[in-house]
Structures are given as C-alpha cells and as structure tokens.
C-alpha cells in the first residue's frame, strides 16, 4: 500500500480549506475565509514538525484537516501512503486509530461529568481495541501510568485534577489506540509556567518511547524550537518558510520569520540589550480578502512592486530550506 518511501508518514499537497461566509435570509455565500490557502509539506516518521504562526494564520485548521476533522476544499492528504482526503466518515475510522489529537484547553476538552478513567478509555471502546472488561481496565491503568498519573485516580472527575494533570488525561486519551501520529494543538499554552516543562518533557519521553510522530502547533517559538526537528512558519493561510530547526533559528530567510523571531522576548536583560527588534507595522489582514501576491507584502520591510503581483512559490534554496519570498 505504500506509494511513498517508508519514512514519510504524512504528505500534504496543495491543501486548501475555505470556510464560506454566509449572509442574508437565504444564507447566500458572499465570500470565503481562506483559512488554509494552498500549502504543502511532509512529515517524516518519528519526527516533530513544528507549525508556528500567529492567531488566525491557519495552523489549527491545518491540524484539523490533516486529521480529517474537516473535509478540505482542495488538495491532497496522504497518511501512511493512503489518500484520505475525500474518504467518507465510515472509511476514515480505521485511520483515526492511527492518528490523534491533543487539545489546547485541558478544561474545555474533557467532559466534566465523565470520570478520568472513562475519558482515557473511551477510544478503546469506540475502536473496539479491547475484548474484555479486564483488558480494558488493565489498558486504562497502563495509560495512566504512561502519562504519569496514579491509576487509583481513574474514578475521579476532571475538576478534581490540576491543569497539568488534566492535560495528562488528554494525552492519555490521545495515546489510547496506539497512534503513530499525534497533532498537538497548543498543548501547553493554557498551563502555568512552572507546569509547562512537565508536559513538554512528558511529550518528549513519549515520543522516544513509543516512536511517535508529532505535528506540534504552537505560537510560542521558544517551545517549538525546543521540541521540533523541522519547522513550518505560517502567515495568513500560507507556509512562508519551512526548514530544520537549526536553519530556521540561525538563518531565517523570510522577512516575516525574521520579525517573528525578533519579537520573541528572551528572559535575559543582557541579551535583550544587544538584540534588535524588527517591529512590524499594522495588523494581520483579513483572511476573507487577503492582499494580492505575497500576502505579507503590505507589512514587509523589504517589499518591492513585484511582491504584490504573484504569489511567491515555496522554493528550495538548498539543504531542504524552503522559503516563499522573491526577495531572498
């Protein structure tokens, strides 16, 4: 069944996800929100691809398309070599076992009236992964231990847990069906600073132990750098730069990436003294009516007239460092 080399677990080609804007009594479509607008990338097995960008750039939508929680408007998604882009609900189920999602909000993503044990164990039942009650109990307890929770707490409900523990429950649920690929959608941004490191470390340990592949969505560039092998930077629905973590941080090429990196505060006044910030002017434009050509050009410090003409394609400038800018 493999049409791809074994080391690519996910391949996304020219993915587009438009959401219609409906108006009026007849709910006529008046425009599209171009949440994801023609992006392509690959994720290799056992690696972490970080997806960074600011609010509304389409990173969460990308994650959800990849899991087929949305049916993409156009493009192709190949998971373990199989095209899942347009599979109907019934046929997508077997794939859902192999891929899962960790949510941002450990408060909103757990049913407050369900016990922690049944939250973690629900996917086992949904996907008929266990044959007996005993097996179910064993597996739930094993999952609890895997994510660093005390198995004696399975009967408790989410509000009895702290934020960090709740996120562990969410991770346990994500691991229930032995997935190979997990989309982590801002998994730590709702947690206290002193707790974040616990979850980051846990995710890294699990990856090592279980050979997991992550698509790690976050806006905190320091965290993404810490955890990712490769990174894709998104701006207004498009990927503007994609490369390995080292090249991105040491040699960022796209003007947006540069601005983004320079805006990240470093907790060290000595370093900050010498750092120069690139302050971008204005706000991110609307995804309903994005600027023509390169959609970053109205805010770009090095834009020229040509930038507003055509969409710059992602091109490899050597060593797998791809950037979508005609000025580079």
């Amino acid at each position: 069944m493999n049409s791809l080399p074994n080391d690519t677990i996910l391949e996304v080609e020219n993915l587009k996800m438009y959401f219609p804007v409906l108006r009026g009594l007849l709910r006529k479509k008046v425009a599209d929100v171009k949440a994801v607008d023609d992006i392509s990338f690959k994720v290799k097995r056992s690696e972490t691809l970080g997806l960074v960008g600011e609010t509304g750039c389409g990173k969460t939508t990308t994650g959800r398309c990849v899991l087929r929680l949305y049916r993409p408007t156009a493009g192709k998604i190949l998971f373990e070599g199989k095209d899942i882009t347009q599979l109907p609900e019934g046929k997508i189920r077997p794939f859902r076992r192999r891929m899962s999602l960790i949510f941002q909000d450990p408060y909103g993503s757990l049913d407050p009236r369900q016990s922690a044990g049944s939250i973690v164990g629900e996917p086992l039942k949904t996907h008929h992964m266990v044959s007996s009650n005993g097996e179910y109990q064993d597996r739930v307890e094993e999952l609890f231990r895997t994510v660093g929770l005390d198995p004696s707490m399975t009967d408790r409900v989410p509000h009895e847990f702290s934020g960090g523990q709740r996120q562990r429950i969410g991770i346990g649920r994500a691991l229930a069906c032995n997935p190979s690929f997990i989309v982590c959608d801002e998994p730590i941004s709702a947690l206290d600073v002193s707790i974040q490191a616990q979850i980051i470390n846990l995710l890294q340990e699990l990856q090592e132990k279980l050979g997991l592949t992550y698509l790690f969505i976050a806006h905190d560039l320091s965290v993404v750098r810490h955890i990712s092998n490769r990174l894709a930077v998104m701006y207004l629905g498009r990927i503007v730069e994609i490369t390995d973590w080292k090249a991105l941080y040491e040699n960022p090429l796209h003007p947006y990436t540069k601005a983004l990196l320079s805006a990240v505060p470093i907790p060290d006044p000595f370093v900050e003294e010498k750092r120069k910030r690139i302050i971008l002017q204005g706000d991110v434009p609307s995804a309903v009516d994005p600027p023509t050509g390169c959609n970053f050009h109205p805010r770009c410090p090095i834009a020229i007239a040509e930038c507003s003409q055509a969409v710059p394609p992602l091109r490899d400038i050597g060593g797998g460092h791809e950037v979508a800018c005609i000025r580079v």
């Binding site: 960090g164 806006h219 750098r225 470093i266 900050e272 302050i279």
Partner: protein
C-alpha cells in the same frame, strides 16, 4: 529618584465558602519616579489582586483589604473611601490601569471617542470639544492611523492590538503618574506584543510616568523593567534589578522558573527542569514557606520556622529564603 508609590505590608483576603483565601499576604514594594517595574508570578500568586488593591478595586464582599498601607502623594490610599472623591481623583487620574482583555474592558456599545473623552472630562473638567481634540491626539500618539475618523468607531471594529492601543491612550489621557498594566500583552500575538511593549516604553519617556507591568512571562519584563518583584503564593519572594533577577537569581522559585522555560537563544537539547508539584491552594496555608513543598533546596529550618521575611543579600537584592543558594552551587549544577 524619589519614591512615588510605597506599598507596605499589603494584605488582601477573600472570604469563600471553603475558607479565607489569603490572596495577598504582606506585600511591600515601591515604585520610583520614571521607573518601569515588573511584577512577575504565575496565575493565582496575587499579582493582579495586589494591583487592584492599590486602587481599591477589590469587590467587597467577598474581598477585603485587611491590612497595610499604600502611600502615594503623601497620603495612604487605603484610608480613602473606596468610592469617595479622593480615591476617584487618584483612580484613572493619577494612577491609571491597563487591563488584560481589551475587549472586556472597553464598553462595546460606546464609541472609542466617548470612552476616551470620559476621563479628561471627569478629572480635568475639560469641555467636550477639547477632550475630543485631545483624544484624537492621543490616538495618533499610540499609532492609530486616521485617528480623526477612527474615533467614532466602536471597539469591535478594532483588532486586538489596536484595542490595547486604545486602552493605552485611555490610560494616558489624564497624564497619570503611574500606569499599572495588568498582563497587557497576554491576549495578543507575539509580534503585536513587541509593538505594544515598545509603545509603552516610549510613552513612559514621553509622558514622564512610571509603569508597573504585571505578567507571568519573564521574557516580557526582561527587556524593559528596571526592577522586578517575583511573587509566589501571595508574597514577594525576590526583588532586585532586572539584571540581578535574571543574571543572578537567588530564590529557589525564581531559579526554578528560569530553568523551566526553553529559551530562544540557548543551545538546544537541554532537558527542561520542571518545578515539582503544584502551586499551593491559598486556603488554610501553613505558616511555613509556601514554596517549601516544591523546593529542591529546602532544609530542616524551612520546615520548622515561619515563612522568612525578605532579607537583603546584596545591595538592592532581596529574597525571602533561609537557604543561601551560593553555598549550594554544586547541587544547582547537578539538579
């Protein structure tokens, strides 16, 4: 530089069904003229409550300021009636506040102009035309283009970053001596955060005011703050210049915080060191150091003695801890 605001042993409590929450438990700090002060801590450490207490904005009940003094302009603000004329002339006028959520702190049904002119009209008895002129000028200053037109817009027509700019303009509208910014950049993106911080630092220069930035993000204050106070469980556990706090932290909690976050400029591959355990529940706390259960350096004395007072370790550097981290450098490296 002279002291502008002197907060002494401030205590604020909330009565809840489960017991009394000592949200702020003896906090002392000062703000000098023309100074940027950072107040850092995790959620629930009392950093916001302490600031709301300074302006007597604590809802009573359930909250109550039970002790301490807030000396500003030669008066103890806590002696003023919360809704009396004296307090109102300070609140919004001499001490202004910028809140975290610009959408919830702006009134959605009033125009930006109406909200910007309200304070000068109240505090300075400015007539409406003059106040409007001033509002337009302020909007220009905080970087809103077409200010004369945008002044008739409503908050929902502005983006998050622009709303926060409006909040900054509003705070500046009465030429305050101190601006308290409570998590001013938490709800916005990192590039917008950079814009706003830069703007606030500019305004401190232009308006010759002082700024208190309340934040959970150590990085945010590193660049701008002159002095930093680190809070934990309702108290200040460490205070010093920004350079000391980041370059030579002495309190185990500060050290823990710094080691638990990845940095953009460090070599990669360092394993993050999380702080064990959880932030404490502030109800019925034992008299001992609240960080002790999570502290990797705790000694027997910590378990016996009450939470230590702030003590000077070097110059302006204060910590509330019995342990001398310096003597235990080896552990620091291995832990």
């Amino acid at each position: 530089m002279s002291v502008l605001l002197n907060v002494n042993n401030l205590k604020t409590q909330f009565r809840t069904e489960r017991g009394v929450v000592k949200a702020v438990d003896g906090v002392s700090y000062q703000v000098d003229e023309h100074e940027i002060v950072g107040l850092v801590g995790e959620s629930g450490c009392g950093k916001s409550v302490s600031q709301l207490s300074v302006l007597q904005l604590i809802p009573d009940p359930p909250g109550k300021i039970v002790g301490g003094e807030v000396i500003f302009d030669g008066h103890d603000l806590l002696k003023f009636e919360a809704n009396g004329a004296e307090m109102r002339s300070v609140r919004g006028g001499k001490i202004a506040m910028i809140f975290q959520e610009p959408m919830t702190s702006l009134n959605p049904v009033l125009t930006i102009g109406r909200q910007l002119t309200e304070m000068p009209e109240l505090h300075f008895k400015m007539d409406h035309e003059a106040a409007r002129e001033r509002a337009i000028e302020l909007l220009k200053l905080v970087g809103i283009s077409d200010a004369a037109d945008r002044i008739s817009s409503y908050p929902h027509q502005f983006s998050g970053g622009m709303r926060q700019r409006v909040m900054i303009a509003m705070a500046l509208s009465c030429n305050p001596k101190i601006i308290i910014a409570d998590e001013p950049t938490t709800a916005v993106d990192v590039t917008t955060q950079a814009q706003l911080l830069e703007l606030m630092a500019d305004m401190v220069e232009k308006f010759n005011t002082s700024l208190v930035i309340v934040t959970h993000n150590l990085g945010v204050v590193a660049r701008y703050a002159n002095r930093i106070y680190v809070m934990y469980a309702g108290r200040i556990v460490e205070s010093s210049t920004s350079k000391d706090i980041f370059g030579d932290p002495r309190h185990p909690y500060t050290i823990g915080l710094l080691k638990s976050v990845p940095r953009l400029d460090e070599p990669r591959g360092r394993k993050l060191v999380p702080i064990d355990g959880l932030p404490p529940n502030l109800i019925g706390m034992p008299p001992t150091c609240a960080f002790m259960p999570r502290c990797p350096y705790r000694v027997d004395k910590c378990k016996r003695e009450p939470w230590p007072e702030l003590r000077p370790v070097e110059g302006q550097h204060y910590i509330s801890c019995y342990v001398d981290i310096r003597e235990r450098q080896d552990e620091l490296v291995t832990k």
